[in-house]
């Protein structure tokens, strides 16, 4: 089971500091990014549907 990471043995710089699969913050951000992407894809499909119906009419 994945445990807590103190973050001291991993020194990341730049974007890797906030998006990595070792530190708590990095993992949390990746999870939020994944959920956000799924939500955006679903919203994108929902918003496309009425436009399709209008163009067909």
């Amino acid at each position: 089971m994945a445990g807590h990471d103190s973050g001291t043995q991993h020194q990341f710089t730049g974007i890797k500091k906030y998006f990595n699969s070792y530190t708590l913050i990095g993992r949390r951000n990746y999870v939020l990014l994944t959920y956000g992407s799924i939500l955006m894809i679903i919203l994108g499909f929902k918003m496309r549907k009425p436009k399709k119906e209008v163009s067909q009419k």
């Binding site: 994945a2 699969s21 913050i25 993992r27 949390r28 999870v31 939020l32 994944t34 959920y35 992407s37």
Partner: protein
């Protein structure tokens, strides 16, 4: 085996009134509330049992987790006593009903998850991604971990239901087979009877083990979130 195989799993009625609530409450009568410093034998044995179980089960928890001590001990005693009482012939076992087990599993699991998100939001969210995951696998693993989280209460409930129901069905079938074989071939009936005895001993163990497993898993989910 003239009776319907699933007759023991239907809602028990007495003169048209469902008595399932009484049956669920009944095991609590068997556990007296100790109100003296030195109690009678039954209360002392009960105290010893609760101390033994709580010592082992709560040793992994921190202060926050140990606030669930009463809940976890009540859970193991309830499920254990209900399962054991269900082994009596012609009795109704509430834990064979998926509705009841889901009613126990979902609130307990949800309580641990909500507690985790309230007190350790960062760690709870980070749990959805195992440490050291390679970049291309991250989206897939997040989805898989989310699904495995939501499967937990269903697995808890179905595990208990299936184990107890299967055991009762087997006892019913083998008991029926023993009765039928008595007139046909007594030697085979004796072998079947010995199998029935062994199965009953197994079901006694399963009754206690399933109560322990249910409570232990709830305790582990709590430990992950505190």
């Amino acid at each position: 085996m003239n009776e319907n195989l699933f007759a023991s799993f239907t809602t028990p009625m007495m003169m048209g009134v469902p008595i399932v609530v009484l049956i669920i409450i009944f095991p609590s009568i068997l556990f007296p509330s100790p109100n003296r410093l030195i109690n009678n034998r039954l209360a002392t044995v009960q105290q010893w049992l609760i101390q033994l179980v709580s010592k082992h089960m709560l040793s992994i928890h921190n202060y926050k987790g140990q606030t669930w001590a009463l809940m976890l001990m009540s859970l193991i005693l309830f499920i254990g006593s209900t399962n054991l009482l269900g082994l009596l012939p012609h009795s109704f076992t509430p834990t064979t009903q998926l509705s009841m087990n889901l009613g126990m599993a979902i609130p307990l699991w949800a309580g641990t998850v909500v507690m985790g998100f309230r007190h350790k939001t960062k760690a709870s969210l980070a749990h959805f991604l195992p440490q050291g995951t390679p970049l291309p696998l991250i989206p897939m693993l997040v989805i898989i971990e989310t699904i495995s989280l939501f499967i937990q209460p269903v697995a808890l409930a179905v595990r208990l239901t299936a184990n107890i129901t299967a055991g009762h069905l087997l006892i019913h079938l083998i008991g029926g087979a023993t009765l039928v074989l008595m007139n046909i071939n007594p030697v085979t009936a004796l072998i079947t009877f010995i199998i029935l005895i062994l199965l009953t001993i197994l079901e006694l163990a399963v009754a206690l083990i399933q109560a322990y497993v249910f409570t232990l898993l709830v305790s582990l989910y709590l430990h992950d979130n505190t």
